[in-house]
């Protein structure tokens, strides 16, 4: 047991031991979710603010339910309806939330490093719920949790991440988490979206999809992030599907026990065949369930030893 962090900003700075601590803690919270009363008093009297400057539905709902199941009070703050639109700076918005005695601020922002910026001056804890193309730590933790739950281990597994890697914070956080825990990560997708520079993170890069999925124990499919692409990185969606989509013909080439993951939202018929998404090989809905347990674990861990009402130590 080794958790002394006040914030969860990224996976890059976590030790393997800290990652395992989150996963072990999440196992206990998953069991809570399987009971008639799915609530524990661990964050009683605490206030969690979901500060979502970039729109999100599933991550926000997951954090909201996680905080509620820990008996915290939750405020949802979205950019569309906020004073950020009226010209307030992020620093002032965060300071105002802290003046309401927020204990934990969960933030999503389109700018990489925005949560790190908040953590420098806030007394409250900060959880990164996705910052630009940088990191999405809780997604990587829930993916790692799901892999460990299904396969019993991480070390030595072949994990292939297929799709838009360049713009993906999910890919970056997953690469950090998986390589720290000893998995072998392969990246595949259109060359424009999978630059060779990722080899410096300890991954293998290939543009041959057959070769990428053949020996994989896990195939993690990423959505094409239309919203982050400033120019066309590949000719058409149809071409992407025919070259890199997980079709039934391609699935037949994989190991029979290879699991299919996807952080959602899935685009049926684009990166994944509709039937595969609903097949027993897909653990996409397990990922959603596990995401709740992992986020409860993260909120629980960073709250430890904080003292009442987010007062700085």
């Amino acid at each position: 047991m080794s958790w002394t962090r006040k914030h969860l900003l990224d996976i890059q700075s976590l030790t393997p031991d800290e990652i395992v601590t989150v996963l072990d803690t999440a196992r206990a919270f998953k069991a809570v979710g399987e009971r008639a009363i799915k609530k524990v008093p661990a964050l009683r009297g605490k206030t969690v603010v979901n500060l979502f400057v970039e729109p999100s539905t599933r991550t926000r709902i997951s954090f909201e339910l996680a905080a509620q199941r820990l008996t915290a009070d939750v405020i949802n703050f979205s950019a569309e309806a906020s004073s950020l639109k009226k010209g307030e700076t992020l620093r002032d918005t965060a300071r105002n939330l802290e003046a309401l005695n927020a204990d934990i601020i969960v933030m999503r922002h389109s700018a990489s490093g925005a949560p790190h910026f908040l953590a420098r001056f806030l007394h409250a804890s900060v959880v990164n719920a996705g910052d630009g193309a940088h990191e999405h730590p809780t997604q990587a933790l829930l993916d790692t949790f799901t892999i460990r739950e299904k396969k019993g281990r991480i070390e030595g597994l072949n994990v292939t991440i297929l799709g838009d890697i360049l713009y993906s914070r999910v890919a970056r956080s997953n690469i950090w988490a998986l390589t720290k825990l000893g998995a072998k990560v392969t990246l595949c997708g259109p060359a424009t979206l999978v630059p060779r520079v990722f080899e410096q993170m300890g991954c293998r890069v290939t543009y041959d999809v057959t070769e990428a999925i053949r020996d994989a124990d896990i195939i993690n499919l990423l959505r094409i992030q239309h919203e982050r692409q400033r120019k066309a990185m590949f000719p058409s969606i149809n071409e992407y599907t025919s070259l890199f989509g997980l079709t039934k013909a391609r699935l037949a080439l994989t190991k029979p026990d290879a699991l299919i993951m996807h952080p959602g939202p899935i685009n049926r018929g684009v990166e994944i065949d509709s039937e595969i998404a609903d097949s027993p090989r897909s653990v996409i809905l397990d990922q959603v369930t596990n995401g709740l347990a992992v986020r409860m674990a993260v909120l629980f861990l960073i709250n430890g030893g904080k003292g009442p009402q987010g007062v700085a130590q």
Binding site: D24, A28, K30, A31, A36, V40, N303, G305
Partner: protein, 181 residues
């Protein structure tokens, strides 16, 4: 055992204490089917397993067994590094049951208080009894054990070390003297 420790129970004494507790549980509870043991992590889990084995021999039937982690229900989460948590596993309906909470050392009573709160979220047992291997005194809450292996008067700066063969060594309970690292 370390040099700053005094032996309280050796393996044979621990076995005798558990055998006596099992017989006391059987004497107090007439209906085996209504009884379930719930061990509190970690030591309580080992003890509950052993009591369940002893009771199933006495009653000639299997005994319901669960385990719980009370970390999420602690009252000091604000003041300490987060405790490591293990899943709570209660694989039976507690409603109408006599639950016997099992822990290794009864001290302030705060662990038992947390366990009672946690059980409240799981169901409505008919009654709850408490079995502990060691009662070292210094209660901070109005909590009392129904079954006690050994009462050990202790000073506040002393510690009770309970070791189990399941953890790789020998069964042993020792009192660690105050002022030790």
């Amino acid at each position: 055992m370390k040099s700053n420790e005094i032996l309280i129970l050796n393996q044979a004494a621990m076995e005798r204490a558990l055998t006596r507790i099992a017989h006391e549980i059987a004497e107090r509870n007439e209906h085996p089917a209504e009884v379930a043991l719930v061990g509190i992590h970690r030591g309580g889990v080992f003890l509950a397993q052993r009591l369940a084995a002893l009771l199933s021999t006495i009653w000639s039937c299997p005994v319901l067994l669960g385990q719980m982690d009370i970390g999420m229900h602690r009252d000091d989460l604000d003041r300490r590094t987060p405790p490591s948590l293990r899943p709570t596993v209660i694989p039976f309906d507690v409603t109408g049951k006599t639950l016997i909470l099992v822990d290794d050392v009864l001290f302030s009573g705060r662990t038992v208080r947390a366990a009672l709160d946690a059980l409240h979220d799981i169901g409505r047992p008919k009654r709850i009894q408490l079995a502990v291997l060691i009662d070292r005194g210094h209660r901070e809450l109005p909590i009392k054990a129904d079954f006690v292996g050994k009462n050990v008067p202790s000073a506040l700066d002393e510690r009770i070390r309970v070791r189990f063969r399941e953890q790789g060594g020998e069964d042993e309970v020792a009192l660690e003297k105050g002022g030790a690292a």
